[in-house]
């Protein structure tokens, strides 16, 4: 219930113009920054550590998130946008996520603490928010062939006969 009130308030307070960032279809600049801050923590151990490869991976995750969001039904897009709004609006980010700096400035341990707080929150709504961010991010990276070597996965050789 509290969660619902907070979400509602955040949606109401969140006046930031919602135009997609340059080169993106659905994510605003601040939302893209949020994804970029969460991705290294959620995907730790799965994205490359080498600096250049890591940048490429993070870019691809942001692009995939954007593509994925733009491809969702309008109702679900609206819900995800509401969640992103809650997390990027400074007062609710501080109060509900417990992160007091902007996302690009947040340390990995602050991000992890936020995720753990929501993961086992007694509010269903915050647990749902954690699941949404975690699963969307994981789907964005694990579907990418660049992610496959780290998990030892590959398409079967026989696929070459017809693909």
């Amino acid at each position: 219930m509290t969660g619902a009130v907070v979400l509602g308030a955040a949606a109401w307070l969140n006046h930031e113009p919602d135009t997609p960032a340059q080169g993106l279809r659905a994510l605003s600049r601040r939302e893209a920054e949020l994804i970029r801050a969460l991705a290294p923590v959620i995907l730790a151990g799965m994205i490359p550590t080498d600096a250049t490869a890591r940048q490429t991976a993070l870019n691809e995750v942001v692009e995939a998130f954007d593509r994925g969001l733009a491809g969702m039904s309008l109702a679900v897009q609206g819900e995800v946008k509401q969640l992103l709004g809650l997390l990027t609006f400074a007062p609710s980010r501080a109060l509900v996520a417990g992160v007091w700096t902007s996302w690009p400035e947040a340390s990995e341990s602050e991000v992890a603490a936020f995720l753990m707080k929501w993961q086992s929150s007694r509010f269903v709504l915050l647990r749902a928010g954690y699941q949404a961010m975690k699963q969307l991010m994981q789907a964005c990276w694990f579907g990418n062939p660049l992610a496959w070597p780290a998990m030892g996965y590959a398409l079967p050789d026989r696929a070459r006969e017809f693909l």
């Binding site: 086992s120 994981q138 398409l155």
Partner: protein
């Protein structure tokens, strides 16, 4: 692009009457004997039978027409293109993720080919509790046989992949009966990518069987076209209104399609079919519409094996056990069916709990992962009433499904069973898919840990690929939405020919139950219409 022949592209070249909604420039007004909403298990079967009877059929499908040339074995392409809500459909509280198809062929285009007749206990329950006397095993047998032949459903002669064989070996070690699953395939390459669209056309889905057959007989198909409402006059539907969708399949383009027909077959699948009737404000005098929607809620355990499993390679589901259905009475504690799922990167990644290191220690060993699922038989007990469909502000349907303590109890028992089987098959570590689930190193440790797990929504991972009910059949119109022959109780020319007509869940993967029921009901409808037509002609 796939180098194998693509029966859909060949059919289009032969001149099928197929219209892509995204390409429609102006409003369209059509007429037919029968209009069918949805082209999945129910819609495809109905189109085949009704067109074969010489009736003029129009099929309308919300999703796109995609075929083997488009199927590139990639989850990231398939989920947004071929699934409802990008494979991210969820119950209202987000606690259950629901997989349902959304392209020509419906869920059969992406399903895993497991084929079971409706279990005897389920049919008996329908006869006894729902007054569906005609649904006896004997009277249904010929319909199942007919569809088994139509869709090449047969025992699968190839040995199971390791993921399924571990389930078999674990059951064997514990003396739990397990058996092989029949599949609807012809010349299957044993690849394991059925869930992202079969690239070889081996899977005998509606996309490559019944829908092409109907098109060859002159039926019309409109895709990327969503039926918005039915219009009624007195006790009949007179027309339906649909909206053309853009290339991405999301936004209406503004172009409208109107269809007048003698009969309306609704086959949008559970959740969507009740949603359409709710949007249309169909008569619902006893407030039964959309209620009793069932999911076969699934919980999951993963195991780490010493040798490679590669659960992404090979036919996805080939072994099952009904032991925990057969040994539990329908009015007792909830029973569950045991199976193995395909283990592809996205599906496995989002199902495994946690994030960061905790999560990636498992992900990095994907080839060694073995996964078992338990499908709970919901809808047979007073404490399992399923969920209810309602409409969001924009008119799209959403399912509210509260998991009762009765159902949670079954999930906990299933966790025990699955862990015990995996250890018996030699697992080093087993983990329940639950945000508080920990890696367990022995069956003794598992017994303690699983007993302590809090069974709560959005902590315990719960998924479903089998949505059923919401327009349930029954003789008593106070408790049901349609009659045993699929006709709406209050609307004399509206027929529900899909999984939403089931009064309970099935207790087995539902496709063959839908094929059999619809083959029977569509055949009856065809016979009635053809005999009506004759006097007019003669």
């Amino acid at each position: 692009m796939s180098k194998l022949p693509d029966p859909i592209r060949l059919g289009l070249d032969r001149g099928w009457t197929v219209q892509d909604g995204a390409k429609l420039k102006a409003d369209l007004s059509l007429e037919a004997d029968i209009v069918i909403v949805g082209t999945g298990a129910g819609g495809g079967t109905a189109a085949d039978i009704l067109s074969a009877a010489g009736l003029k059929v129009i099929m309308i499908e919300e999703g796109p027409l995609k075929s083997s040339s488009d199927f590139r074995m990639l989850e990231r392409d398939a989920y947004p293109q071929l699934y409802q809500e990008s494979a991210g459909r969820q119950t209202q509280d987000k606690a259950i993720t629901i997989l349902q198809g959304r392209s020509v062929g419906g869920s059969t285009t992406v399903n895993w080919t497991s084929s079971f007749r409706t279990p005897a206990a389920t049919l008996k329950h329908w006869q006894d509790q729902w007054g569906l006397r005609e649904y006896s095993q004997e009277s249904m047998a010929p319909w199942f046989a007919r569809m088994e032949e139509r869709l090449s459903i047969a025992p699968w002669p190839v040995p199971p992949n390791e993921n399924n064989d571990i389930l078999r070996r674990g059951c064997e070690a514990l003396k739990i009966p397990a058996a092989a699953i029949q599949r609807n395939v012809k010349g299957c390459w044993n690849l394991g990518y059925c869930g992202v669209g079969c690239p070889t056309n081996a899977k005998q889905s509606m996309l490559v069987t019944t829908v092409p057959a109907a098109l060859d007989r002159g039926a019309t198909l409109l895709h990327r076209t969503r039926v918005d409402t039915l219009r009624f006059a007195h006790d009949k539907a007179v027309s339906l209104e649909a909206v053309a969708l853009d290339e991405a399949g999301i936004r209406p383009t503004g172009v409208k399609v109107k269809v007048r027909a003698r009969h309306f077959v609704l086959a949008g699948g559970a959740i969507n079919t009740p949603g359409l009737l709710l949007r249309s404000k169909a008569p619902d005098p006893h407030a039964t519409l959309g209620k009793r929607t069932f999911l076969h809620p699934v919980n999951v355990t993963a195991a780490l094996m010493n040798s490679k499993v590669e659960g992404y390679n090979g036919a996805p589901q080939t072994i099952y056990s009904d032991h925990f259905l057969d040994t539990l009475p329908l009015d007792g504690p909830i029973g569950y069916k045991l199976e193995a799922p395909p283990v592809h990167p996205i599906l496995a990644g989002i199902t495994l709990q946690g994030f960061g290191e905790e999560h990636s220690t498992w992900m990095r060993r994907l080839p060694h992962l073995q996964v078992v699922i338990a499908l709970l038989r919901d809808g047979f007990h007073p404490h399992s009433i399923g969920g209810a469909v309602s409409l969001r502000k924009d008119g799209s349907p959403v399912l509210d499904y509260a998991i009762s303590d009765y159902v949670w109890d079954g999930m906990r028992r299933a966790f025990f069973t699955m862990a015990e089987i995996q250890f018996a098959a030699g697992a080093k570590v087993v983990m329940p898919m639950h945000e508080k689930g920990k890696p367990m190193k022995s069956w003794a440790e598992a017994k303690q840990h699983i007993a302590d797990l809090p069974m709560k929504p959005l902590e315990c991972r719960v998924v479903s690929a089998h949505v059923m009910g919401g327009c349930g059949m029954g003789v008593d119109e106070k408790r049901s939405v349609v009659r045993g022959d699929g006709r709406h109780h209050q609307l004399e020319n509206v027929w529900i020919f899909d999984g939403s007509a089931f009064p309970t869940s099935i207790g087995a993967n539902p496709q063959l139950s839908i094929y059999g029921m619809v083959a029977r009901n569509a055949t009856r409808l065809a016979e009635a219409l053809v005999s009506q037509k004759k006097p007019m002609v003669g």
